[in-house]
Amino acid sequence: MRKILLLVAVVAACGRGLEPEPICARSLVGLCGTVRFRGAVPANTENVFIAAYLAVPQTCTELINNRRPVIPGSVPFTDSLAAYSVPLDPGAYHWVLAVWKKPGTLTLSPADTQYLRVAGYYRDPADSTQRGVATVPSGSAVSNIDFVVNFDSLRPATDFVTCTAQ
């Protein structure tokens, strides 16, 4: 009986359960950083989320289908600065961007672009005119992927990719 009670105590003591997980937690595999917000938040803003692409998409279909994660979490946009983190598989992501979304049901199809705008993206620290590459190492996260979102210059997807007529 004592052994059983001891076993229970040990098993119970070993369990830590769910714990607070700050942005850029040690356990994160993905990327994290901060987003600085500029401009006036449009009244019809539903949310802002961070998306990443292993290869820069060329078409609307690639823009929608190759997005990681498929269902992204949102970033609080009411403050001027927000920390974010995105769980991702290891790899080199050639486009990390903030996406603005207005109300509407996403269907994981090119038609989604009607609700979405590119709000800003991570730039190469050595040449801010170029996209930056964020490399997620195996088993950990890449940090300091910081960039700016400007609500006054939200850009449609067609500024970046080719969308054929739907």
């Binding site: 229970v8 942005i23 974010y84």
Partner: protein, 729 residues
């Protein structure tokens, strides 16, 4: 043929043809305290009853002569005695039972739909007794089921040996019956655990494994039968008061309110009964602030029950009504969905877009049952029932509602052609309807017939039977499902028993599954009226040893289920660019495992310890896909450890539950995948003066305030300390 007719006539020969008498008396323990809910029976016949709160019992229409009478109660050793009864006379037989914590449950009613006294079932049966319900100081019966080996509650859904998993509230692969009457919802197939007040419940039996050969649809993975308390003779009242407090989040960054959440409730009951009739009314109200943001719950219920007995006929009727208004914390707050304080997730808070979401729910049932004991060898039972559920989900984006009705009638014949054989034959009809803005307006009809025969052959008992179910949706064509089962038990030397059974299980898709039309995760969920029943074959072999090393009892079973056409949500890509979700029959699955329970009483009358362990190995394969993986929401290991120590009027106890982290969840990639093992320790204490009217119980559930979730983005209960006072007169 002539012999068969003669046998039938002999079996149904009315009682008045032979001299008969009454056996009455009391069942008490060695200190003279009454033992309620003890089973008293004339073995091998249709004659049985249970003792009331004073331990009194009465068996009418007992054939005159030398009569064998059997009495047993859980936790006590059984007594089997023979008395002489004169026709037209009444004989008093008082039983004094001695404590025997290793004694097996004296009655099994769930595995064969007729009470078996002292016989071991061919399938595994778990039991929660009235004493355990009281000892655990729970508010609803499902809280007590978590302490049965092989059973796990997942967000209100019952998992018996890994059968159900978690199916987002659209079905259940476990059937719930109340005194044998099916109580799964007519529209969604789920179970309303709070429809019955706890004080109405005498015991709960859990049939593990497929039970469709007797119970039909939904008994795919098991059957949970709730036996309600009979109305005792005399005038009785009861009052239960509960008050408690929820623990704060263990980390300051998760705090979401300034004051701790509270809970409280009051229940009352009053009854009056004579040998001929009896009635009881009960009611209660509960309020809970909840343990997380937007988690308030208000519950109100009323119940009534009556019985009338005349000669060899007994009529029972009961009903209940319950109303709930509860907040809906649909999912916890992920980054950006609330004031997240720089955290990736806030498990105690909700997504602000769902602030104000709530559900108003009303449910009610009525049932009536007539049982006539035509002779000690023949009895028939008929019953009718109606279950209604009505919910309104109030959300910011939309308001949804559903009204489900389930009407049922059934008849069953129980025959004992000779003391070694039992035969039951029955038929059932169920008509279910739903009216809802997400399920539409539909109906489902079910007709069934079943039969089972059981034969004792020396130390062995062999049973076999089958049930055929016909299902029709919206008055369309019938789908037939045949569910056979065979089983055997063998009593070995030294109290050892072997058992084996194989049976078929099936579950008809619920109307909610067929016709649901809503939006989930941003996608349209479209109906699939062509869904087929899920089917399975379930096999088990088990062994019970008692006593083991003089102070222990061991029960162990190996089980194996092969299932096909399991229903799961599938993503449909509809050209050119549309994505929808639809429920489809796409999964083949294997659920194999082992469960064992050990009870030890090293210090008789004082210390009782229990250990339960279940190992699950599941395999899931999608149609048209050769890759395999585990079924979702099935932990590989379940462990239960408990101990109770009693000293005079005081008792203390502890329970520990462990479930390993499920290897897989559904919709992974679309929902927060965070999940951890379950490690929950409950402590309890009770004070009960002998023969006094008051009992006080203290329960500290999840005393270590272990923070965990069983389904994605849904926090499981945190530390809760509750004090319950029960007064009975």
């Amino acid at each position: 043929m002539h012999r068969a007719i003669a046998t039938l006539l002999l079996v149904v020969a009315p009682l008045r043809a032979a001299a008969q008498g009454i056996v009455r008396g009391t069942v008490r323990d060695k200190d003279g305290a009454p033992i309620s809910s003890a089973s008293i029976a004339i073995p091998g016949t249709t004659l049985s009853t249970r003792s009331d709160l004073q331990g009194a019992y009465r068996l009418a229409v007992v054939p005159a002569g030398r009569v064998r009478v059997y009495a047993a109660a859980l936790g006590y050793g059984p007594i089997d005695t023979t008395v002489a009864l004169t026709g037209g006379d009444s004989t008093i037989v008082d039983f004094i039972l001695s404590p025997a914590p290793l004694a097996l449950p004296p009655v099994d009613v769930v595995s064969d739909r007729v009470p078996h006294f002292g016989d071991r079932p061919a399938t595994s049966v778990g039991q929660v007794t009235e004493r355990e319900l009281g000892r655990r100081a729970v508010n609803t019966v499902d809280e007590a089921l978590e302490h049965v080996a092989g059973v796990q509650m997942v967000n209100g859904q019952t998992n018996v040996r890994g059968s159900t998993g978690y199916v987002q509230g659209l079905n259940s692969r476990v059937l719930m019956t109340v005194d044998g009457v099916p109580m799964n919802q007519g529209d969604r197939g789920g179970i309303n655990w709070d429809l019955l007040a706890l004080d109405e419940i005498e015991s709960v039996q859990i049939l593990k494994g497929a039970g469709s050969s007797l119970y039909g649809s939904a008994a795919f993975g098991g059957v949970i039968n709730v036996t309600t308390r009979d109305v005792p003779t005399g005038f009785h009242t009861g009052l239960r008061l509960t008050g408690g407090v929820y623990g704060d989040p263990p980390h300051p960054v998760w705090r979401f309110r300034d004051n701790p959440g509270m809970l409280g409730g009051a229940d009352f009951s009053a009854s009056y009964g004579t040998d001929v009739f009896g009635g009881r009314i009960s009611g209660g109200d509960r309020h809970s602030d909840g343990y997380r943001q937007q988690d308030q719950d208000d519950h109100l219920h009323f119940g009534a029950r009556g019985r009338w007995q005349h000669a060899n006929t007994r009529v029972d009727f009961s009903g209940a009504w319950a109303a709930d208004r509860y907040d809906v914390p649909l999912s916890w707050c992920s980054r950006g969905e609330c004031d997240d304080k720089g955290q990736v997730f806030q498990p105690f808070k909700v997504d602000t877009t769902e602030r104000g979401a709530r559900t108003d729910s009303r449910k009610a049932f009525l049932m009536a049952r007539v049982r006539t004991t035509v002779s000690p060898r023949f009895a028939w039972t008929a019953r009718g029932s109606w279950l209604r559920t009505h919910f309104v989900d109030v959300r910011r984006s939309a308001t949804e509602f559903g009204i489900g009705d389930r009407f049922g009638v059934a008849g069953q014949i129980e025959a004992h052609p000779d003391p070694a054989r039992t035969v039951i034959v029955g038929t059932e009809a169920t008509y279910s309807t739903v009216t809802s803005d997400i399920f539409g307006s539909h109906s489902q009809s079910e007709f069934a017939a079943y039969g089972q025969s059981e034969q004792r052959l020396g130390p062995a008992r062999v049973s076999g039977g089958a049930r055929v179910d016909f299902l029709a949706i919206d008055g369309g064509s019938l789908t037939a499902v045949v569910s056979p089962r065979v089983g055997a038990t063998l009593n070995g030397a030294g109290g050892a028993t072997w058992r084996a059974s194989i049976g078929r299980g099936f579950r008809s898709p619920t109307m909610a599954e067929r016709f649901v039309h809503t939006t989930a995760l941003g996608f349209d969920v479209v109906p699939n009226p062509t869904l087929l029943p899920e089917v399975s074959w379930s096999f088990e072999i088990g062994h019970t040893t008692a006593p083991l090393f003089r102070f222990m009892r061991l029960d162990a079973a190996l089980f194996w289920t092969e299932a096909r056409d399991l229903i799961e949500p599938q993503v449909l890509l509809i050209p050119p660019d549309t994505v929808k979700i639809q429920l489809q029959n796409v999964v083949r699955a294997r659920i194999a495992g082992f469960d064992a329970s050990l009870i030890a009483a090293p210090i008789p009358d004082r210390l009782v310890a229990t250990l339960g362990y279940t190992f699950l190995d599941t395999r899931r394969r999608l149609a048209g896909d050769s890759t395999e993986g585990p079924l979702a929401f099935r932990p590989r290991h379940l462990l239960l450890v408990g101990a109770d120590y009693t000293l005079g009027t005081l008792g203390v106890g502890a329970d520990f539950r462990f479930a390993s982290r499920p290897e897989r969840i559904e919709l992974e990639g679309f929902v927060d995948p965070r999940r951890v093992p379950v490690r929950v320790l409950d402590l309890r204490a009770a004070w009960k003066p002998s023969n006094g009217p008051v009992e006080v119980r203290l329960l500290a559930a999840n005393v270590l305030n272990y923070i965990y979730n069983l389904v994605p983005e849904t926090l499981a209960p945190v530390r809760t300390v509750a004090l319950t006072a029960v007064w009975t007169h």
